[in-house]
């Protein structure tokens, strides 16, 4: 069960970091501080909520599948183990909150430079964007390294996750530039 918990925290955290990074980089091309902050926060919150319900649905589906399997294995016509179902439902909600929380943490983590810039009245959006980008890559690196630690390839895992982050940022930046050039 502990492995499942950490699996959901990694799913949530990486999702939050990737979404936060992609959104903040892409939106920062619109040269509006508040817009970047609001869009990234809303994107993170939406993603956290979506992850909450996705995890819950996936876990509920897994419970139904598992019960069918047990029913078949135990040669039963009816199989409604109340306590087992109650415990599995509680676990599903627990995992859903874990993914929700970590997705939110991931996307807010990306916004720390923007929040600090707001507090200390640093008016350079680019400085906050670059700081956010670097901080996100560090976060992704730590998470990727931790994720691959058990297989003994922590550095490789960290670099791979950072690479994915850079790729997402590059794509998001390209779309941001295209939108600011041709649409707005």
């Amino acid at each position: 069960m502990e492995r499942l918990k950490s699996r959901y925290s990694i799913i949530g955290l990486s999702d939050g970091l990737f979404i936060g990074l992609g959104l903040s980089v892409g939106v920062s091309f619109f040269s509006s501080y508040n817009f970047t902050l609001a869009a990234t926060l809303l994107g993170g919150l939406t993603s956290a909520l979506s992850n909450f319900f996705s995890t819950y649905n996936a876990e509920t589906f897994a419970t139904a599948e598992r019960l069918q399997e047990y029913k078949h294995l135990l040669f039963l016509k009816e199989y409604q183990p109340k306590k087992l179902i109650k415990e599995r439902n509680a676990r599903s909600i627990n995992y859903s909150f874990i993914t929700f929380g970590f997705t939110l943490i991931g996307s807010v983590f990306v916004l720390i430079p923007y929040i600090l810039a707001s507090i200390y009245e640093v008016n350079s959006l680019q400085t906050a964007a670059v700081a956010s980008f670097i901080l996100s890559l560090i976060g992704l690196g730590v998470m990727g390294g931790y994720n691959s630690e058990s297989s003994g390839k922590a550095l490789r895992g960290a670099l791979k996750t950072i690479g994915t982050g850079i790729l997402i940022s590059a794509l998001s930046a390209a779309v941001g530039i295209l939108l600011t050039t041709f649409l707005i």
Binding site: Y70, L76, Y79, P81, K83
Partner: protein, 89 residues
């Protein structure tokens, strides 16, 4: 006459909960005694259990209900002792 000893051969799903949880649930239906569970065999998805219940009074209906709620199935009743309550001739 009261049921004072019962040995059950049962099957439970693997990985959902451990035998301590099951023993704790069953102990509620064994007055003044003990519950012992031994894992006899382990399959991919199920575990075969030998459950020994001993006490002053065993509520068999409660045991059945607790096992059902946990998703465990009674395969057979291997031993049962029904005794006179203490002090009676």
């Amino acid at each position: 006459m009261k049921l004072t000893k019962l040995v059950i051969d049962a099957v439970k799903p693997v990985g959902e909960y451990n035998i301590i949880d099951l023993a704790t649930d069953l102990s509620k239906y064994v007055k003044g005694g003990s519950v012992s569970i031994k894992v006899e065999e382990v399959d991919m998805r199920t575990e075969g259990l030998k459950i020994s219940l001993e006490g002053k009074r065993i509520d068999f209906a409660g045991i059945q209900s607790a096992m059902k709620d946990r998703g465990a199935v009674i395969d057979s009743l291997d031993e049962a002792i029904v005794s006179e309550p203490h002090g009676k001739a």
